[in-house]
Amino acid sequence: MNTLPFAVRTLRRQPARAALGILGVAAVGALLFDMLLLSRGLVLSMQDALDRGGFDIRITATASLPGSGPRIPDATTVARTAASLPQVDAAVALRFGTGRVATGEHRPAVAFSLFGAEPSRLRPWTILRGRDLPLRSDARVGEILVNDVLARTLHLEPGAPLTLRPSCRRAAEALPPVTVRVAGVARFPFDTVDQGTAAMNRLDFAGACGEPQGDEADVILVSAAAGSDADAARNALARALPALAIATNAQLVGRLEESGFSYFRQISTVLATVTMTFGLLLITVLLTVSVNQRLGTIAALRAIGFSRRRVVADVIVESVLMVGIGGTLSLPLGFALAQWLDRILKRMPGLPEELHFFVFEPRALVLHASLLAATAVVAALYPVRLVSRLPIAATLRNEIVS
């Protein structure tokens, strides 16, 4: 009989034990798989969200994240300089602020994020209903885009008037209210689950802020020209605008990976290591006890002609079979568990809706399979040592005497 059918029969001799061992490996494997998904989940999710936005490069005044550092002065000229480069397709200057809408006496005002965007062919939002803002950069258009949350909260539809109080500085302000018309409902990148967001053309935003001549931007979004990659465009921009901080999506994600996202990478490394050690220890114990209980049988097999290599192979295959079946079961279990854990973590306040903590990538699958294969082999080492050094005659004698 070949090694594999023999190992299958060995497992089937003790179905409860084999089933529990496999289930244990499946549970440990699922946790390990989830930790692998978690280790790079946020980074992959963020990279995907940035790439889906259609812009490859962010220009800011300093290396601070957009909105948290100083603003870019003379933003229109900077955006034009950027757009004039052959490696660049479009450059859109954005200014961040906040807006408030009064909802009645003795009721709290509804606060939301407000963008001022330079009109451009490429837009940092996706229209869901109604129409986009008019592409006019020479005059105010008196229109606004709102996201679904704000539309639902304020019962807004395209064409409805909206009176809001903007706030454009980081200090408290009391600007007069402005009334604009809702052009459409849009989806904005990086909105949180319950965040209201609205966008206006730059001139409308500057007018509402009481700075009609204001020409500052928090960030300038740049898309690379067809045939030019993000790195080439970044290098060209760095030469043309040496005083500004210019980062590709990959660089931005790398920066976040080093700072904001490192906690989950650390925790996943610690938990994956603990899980692996736990799994290794327990599979070793299961195999060792199993081999100890079958020493007489193994000695008898050696006596009737099974080679040492063959009985060693039987133990290794038994280990591989147990870990292999458990590991395969761990994948659907891990996916289900990842959904549950992701839902828990996504309740974090201020987290963009499109970000996920557990994201699948083929690398995680390969790593999962490799780690489990290594576990199967290492867990079999001690039982293999027992089997390979088994004294045949003495074991058989002990078996008969006992």
Binding site: Q14, A16, R17, L23, G24, P70, A171, S259, L282, Q293
Partner: protein, 275 residues
């Protein structure tokens, strides 16, 4: 008051009459600064309008989990010094502006009522108590739930393995159990013995686990404190945690042992001794 985004230049001389500042340990280490060194600070990235200060001391920043990844390169200035350094010369009100005012109330005063009263008296002011609102799904509540979920999965995996091990261990003694049955011991008596044995093993295992956790507590804290350059405590094994662990581990261990023994005792004595 914290000066952020300030340009920082160290000067190798001492001047007792300069305004004093405190700098964080991390900044002192990074820039090789010591008490009584003179530094030049500017709010402008180009270094314009810089002023000289004397390092009066070095402090350890208050551990703040919300700023775990943030750079801890900080300096603390007297408020008038900071305002003079950062205020817009063209804004006459700039020297009167602050970002926030921390208020200490009388020990028995109601913080919520005081905050409401203050906000009502000064329109446009946001006043709120420092402590979090109970039940608010804050960052750490979510992280706690996540860690609890991971703990549940780990307990499930451990339980399955524990059952597998107890099944094997009990199976190893099937002949002994069979003989005990044949010489007259009742199933109940044998089960009681297994229960006591399971209790001792589970208790010893749980105590060993707690000892291991206590031993690794310092190691984990030191690693993460080094990794994030903070005095924050990441793992703290409290008496509550110890009791919780015992309350879960011991009953699980005993239940596993009794369950496996019960499955064995259901078979006849002759089958157990393989006759």
């Amino acid at each position: 008051m914290l000066a952020s985004a300030a340009r920082f230049d160290a000067q190798p001389r001492v001047a007792a009459d300069l305004p004093a500042i405190l700098i964080s340990r991390q900044l002192a280490t990074a820039r090789g600064l010591h008490a009584d060194d003179v530094v030049r600070l500017a709010a402008d990235p180009s270094g314009g309008r810089a002023r000289e200060f004397r390092v009066a001391g070095i402090y350890e920043p208050i551990p703040d989990p919300m700023r775990i990844n943030a750079s801890k390169h900080e300096a603390r200035l007297h408020l008038p010094d900071l305002l003079a350094l950062t205020a817009d010369a063209g804004d006459p009100l700039a020297l009167e502006n602050v970002d926030a005012i921390d208020i200490a109330i009388e020990p028995k005063a109601d913080a919520d009522a005081y905050a409401r009263q203050l906000a009502g008296r000064v329109p446009g002011l946001v006043a709120q108590p420092v402590r979090a609102v109970p039940g608010e799904a804050g960052l750490f509540v979510v992280l706690e739930r996540f860690h609890l979920a991971i703990a549940i999965v780990t307990i499930v995996a451990s339980t399955v393995f524990l059952l597998a091990l107890t099944v094997m261990l009990v199976d190893e003694r099937r002949e002994t159990v069979g003989v005990l049955r044949l010489i007259g011991l009742t199933s109940r008596r044998i089960l009681g013995q297994m229960f006591a044995e399971g209790l001792v093993i589970a208790g010893a295992g749980a105590l060993f686990g707690i000892a291991l956790a206590l031993a690794s507590e310092g190691l984990i804290n030191r690693y993460f404190q080094w990794r994030y350059d903070t005095a924050l405590v990441f793992v703290r094994i409290t008496p509550d945690v110890i009791w919780q662990s015992l309350a879960i581990a011991v009953p699980l261990g005993v239940a596993g042992s009794v369950l496996a023994s019960w499955a064995l005792l259901r078979r006849g004595a002759l089958i157990l001794v393989r006759r």
